[in-house]
């Protein structure tokens, strides 16, 4: 018996060793043993299909229900209570999320909660019947939550902040669309707001100084087509896209006061970008404007030596996320899968007014920034919640991650072959297939 056990362990060790150093293109199926044996990094927060928020580790273990009272309405008029948008605090000790509840003939209520990852402590920090939050972004010091909310009466978007320890929420700004980044010291924000297609003159690229009363100070440059500005994690540089004096669109490096220091690249169309966590590199996608979002080529440059360029293989990339160790970039290439027509399908379609449902697939690649090597990891059908955030990935990059803290794994919300939405983990090495963890709609990994 003992011998058998040792033999088994030896076999597992050998298979692990093989998996750890597999050549590219070879994928090993998930081993049930691996999930219990592998080293765990951080936790995953996710939205369950029952409308509750949960946490778990990458093996699907240590599962905790942060909420347990969600109620999915069976009819349009029925009472409902749903939770969404989990957001980890920078120290990963707390999770913020949004709750919405309502019933027929009563005004709905939207709230923001903050809870510990084990669900033990849960506090409501914001509640309203007039405004519905839809995106959460912690201040880097973890003391405040900033969030976007829709004003029900007007349909406008407002940016608010609320102290996590309790206190009044403050309306900081309003505008549509709205993108922003916190300064690493949590004292300021760089915002990019307004100026929808018809009114570019209403576009604002400005600093907000949050010191009781909010002071806004517009930058002097004219924005090019981009969404979310970026502040380097070390606080020393800003990244934004603006029109040059020659009328070109350029990716610019600026100091924290907004003075432009360097033109990093020029581009056509629109651009989305992000700093590596070590503040040394910049990745960007430049290409077609998807309104919202962008599809194009991924380029990585050295912040100090912009000429040091590396480019990923694919040229229709829709989103990317830096790994915490700044060595890799996970990126997604969308493709549309047309349904296979059944016999007489054309005739049926012609008769029916229903448009054919198209399935969007995403192919996940991991780009090794050091070596300039690209590896295709998996192709999957994303959940609609995940697909919904991808056009805004540059903003979500600032507030959430799909990478494990040790930069080894990625969490993906995807449909299984039976059509059920689930939360999956896949190694960034590409050496193993995707591993199903739990039924769910949207997931983010903790920072630490």
């Amino acid at each position: 018996m003992k011998r058998t056990g040792l033999g088994l362990i030896g076999g597992v060790l050998l298979s692990l060793l093989i998996v750890g150093c597999l050549p590219e293109g070879v994928r090993v199926p998930q081993s049930p043993l691996l999930r219990s044996l592998e080293r765990k990094a951080g936790l995953i927060a996710y939205v369950g299909i029952d409308g509750n928020i949960y946490t778990m580790d990458q093996g699907g273990g240590r599962q905790r229900a942060i909420t347990d009272d969600a109620k999915i309405p069976e009819t349009a008029a029925a009472e409902f209570r749903l939770y969404q948008s989990p957001a980890w605090s920078p120290d990963s000790r707390r999770i913020a999320f949004i709750g919405v509840r309502g019933a027929q003939d009563t005004p709905g209520t939207a709230s923001i909660f903050v809870a510990s990852p084990d669900g033990a402590e849960r506090r409501e920090v914001f509640t309203s019947q007039e405004r519905v939050p839809f995106y959460l972004y912690w201040s880097p010091d973890g003391e405040r939550l900033s969030f976007l909310a829709t004003v029900i009466a007007t349909g406008n978007t407002v940016l608010q902040t609320v102290p996590v320890s309790g206190g009044e929420a403050q309306v900081v700004d309003a505008g549509q669309p709205y993108y922003w980044v916190w300064s690493p010291d949590s004292r300021r924000m760089l915002i990019h707001a307004g100026g929808e297609a018809l009114t570019p003159s209403a576009e604002r690229l400005a600093f907000l100084t949050l010191n009781g009363e909010v002071v806004e100070e517009g930058m002097t440059v004219r924005p090019a087509r981009f969404q979310a500005p970026a502040w380097s994690p070390n606080g020393r540089r800003l990244l934004l896209a603006a029109r040059t004096t020659e009328g070109k669109s350029a990716l610019l490096l600026a100091d924290p006061q907004g003075a432009v220091e360097k033109e990093l690249a020029t581009f056509e169309g629109t651009i989305a970008f992000g700093w590596s966590p070590d503040s040394k590199k910049i990745a960007y996608i430049a290409g077609e404007d998807q309104q919202p979002g962008v599809v194009g080529r991924l380029t990585v440059i050295d912040a100090e030596k912009p000429m040091a360029v590396k480019t990923a293989q694919e040229d229709r990339i829709a989103a990317f996320f830096w790994s915490p160790d700044s060595r890799k970039i996970a990126y997604f290439v969308p493709s549309v899968l047309s349904p296979t027509p059944e016999p007489n399908q054309a005739e049926k379609s012609a008769r029916s007014e229903q448009p054919q449902q198209l399935t969007v697939l995403l192919t996940l690649h991991v780009f090794d920034v050091q070596r300039g090597r690209d590896r295709r990891i998996a192709t999957f059908q994303p959940t609609s919640q995940f697909l919904g955030i991808l056009p805004y990935f540059d903003q979500y990059q600032r507030s959430a991650t799909i990478w494990s803290p040790d930069s080894r794994n990625l969490v993906l919300p995807a449909y299984a072959s039976d059509g059920k939405p689930g939360i999956w983990v896949v190694p960034a090495s590409g050496a193993m297939e995707m591993r199903y963890l739990a039924d769910g709609l949207l997931a983010f990994w903790s920072w630490k």
Binding site: L13, L17, A153, D173, R204, E216, E217, G218, G235
Partner: protein, 432 residues
């Protein structure tokens, strides 16, 4: 044995870390210095505002205002350093040098407040109003919302308010008089009201929270086979579809001898379905929208819906016909497609563009205007009716409306031949 397990554990953890990607970088935030604006924010904001007007205001002659001199005059005051309130006063006094409505400035706080505030829901009496300075200062009720405090108190469209709580309406109040009419829900106001043809009376109204609503209304003019449609003060999402339904109902089983479109209280032009409505009644080039740097021709592809392209049209206009409804009337008049009856319009056809300013405030500038195909500048002249009837909205009633009666006569007097309505109308106009 224990040692062996321990060894295995260590070996396992080493193995799991094999081929790992190395150490994790942890960013070290630094304190970012506070911005030191040069030039000062107020100066930058003033310059941006002045320049936006200088470059974009639709009338380059600034209606005779020396805009360059204004820059020098006001910059000196701003450079001296001002409190936020003083800065606001300076900006507003500079803007006031231009015609009313040409430029509107909002502070950052006002901009945010507007995003939050539901302007359709407010606490007041529940009526659309217009201010009149002559012959006596008064507030005219354009429309009274059903079920509103005004309706409960017996007030009706066409009534006018002469005083509020014993204090007469003053000429200098202008449209700010609305602040006296509105008030907290539950509060009471005594209004001195005059209905057309009657002596003034006092009416007590208890204010409430109301939501501004009004819709397209109308019917048939008895014994004339002429349809009548009254457009509400503000557009709404279904206005276009309601128009089509109304045409269907009015044309049901009969050939209309004419259609009267009453635009006398269509006073809010933003969101008005101008192009679709023009396409119902006309075809081709209907004038142009122009800015300082570009011109866009309004070209519509006519759609004949329930004989809409051929039915003789009369449009009622007046001092409250503003914005897109005003363009609509001018375009159909210029195309020879409608006879206009009533009072001249104010020429409020400018398109407004928003400009963001460095301090988070914003300015709305009249950047575009409209001219008819025959070159009339409606923004400068307004629309002149073909048939002038000197009766304001508070001088007529539903039952006794000389403007509407004049439109009926005009439609009935048009020569009815097999030729197109436009030619008939031109012939009719030539007859006087």
């Amino acid at each position: 044995m224990k040692a062996r397990w321990w060894f295995l554990g260590v070996f396992l953890s080493l193995l799991l870390n094999a081929c790992a990607s190395g150490e994790r970088a942890s960013p070290t935030p630094t304190i970012s210095p506070m911005p030191t604006p040069t030039p000062p924010l107020q100066v930058r904001t003033f310059e941006a505002l002045w320049s936006a007007i200088q470059e974009n205001y639709v009338y380059p002659d600034f209606h005779g205002v020396d805009w360059q001199a204004i820059h020098k005059e006001y910059l000196t005051r701003v450079e001296a350093g001002l409190t936020a309130d003083e800065f606001g006063e300076v900006i507003r006094s500079m803007i006031a040098r231009l015609p009313s409505g040409a430029v509107v400035w909002q502070t950052r706080a006002e901009r945010i407040q507007q995003a939050i505030e539901d302007t359709r829901t407010y606490e007041g009496i529940g009526a659309y109003i217009a201010f009149r300075a002559t012959p006596e200062p008064r507030v005219v009720l354009l429309s009274v919302m059903p079920g509103s405090p005004a309706a409960e108190a017996g007030l009706q469209a066409h009534d006018s308010i002469l005083a509020i709580d014993g204090v007469p309406i003053r000429v200098d109040e202008g449209e700010t008089v609305v602040q006296r009419i509105r008030g907290p829900a539950g509060s009471q106001a005594t209004l001195r009201v005059r209905s057309p043809g009657r002596s003034p009376r006092d009416v007590q109204v208890t204010r409430a929270r109301v939501t501004a609503t009004d819709v397209l209304r109308g019917g048939m003019i008895p014994r004339a086979s002429i349809g009548y449609l009254l457009f509400p003060p503000a557009p709404y999402d279904e206005l276009g579809s309601d128009m089509l339904n109304s045409l269907r109902v009015l044309s049901d089983g009969r050939e209309l001898n004419g259609l009267i479109l009453d635009l006398r209280i269509a006073t809010i032009g933003g969101g008005w379905p101008l192009t679709p409505l023009l396409a119902l009644f006309a075809n081709g080039n209907l004038g142009e929208i122009y800015t300082r740097t570009s011109t866009q021709t309004i070209t519509v592809e006519g759609q004949d819906v329930f004989n809409s392209q051929r039915v003789p049209l009369a449009i009622l206009i007046g001092p409250d016909t503003q914005g897109a409804p005003e363009i609509f009337a001018a375009a159909l008049q210029a195309a020879g497609r409608a006879v206009l009856v009533g009072l001249p319009t104010p020429g409020e056809v400018e398109g407004i563009t928003e400009f963001a300013l460095p301090d988070g405030s914003r300015v709305f500038i009249a950047t575009s205007s409209y001219r008819t195909p025959d070159g009339r500048e409606i923004g400068l002249t307004g629309v002149t009716p073909d048939v002038t009837v000197n009766a304001d909205w508070d001088a007529v009633t539903i039952e006794d409306d000389p403007v509407r009666d004049a439109a009926v006569r005009a439609l009935q007097e048009m020569p009815r031949r097999s030729s197109g309505a436009s030619r008939r109308l031109r012939e009719w106009s030539a007859q006087g």
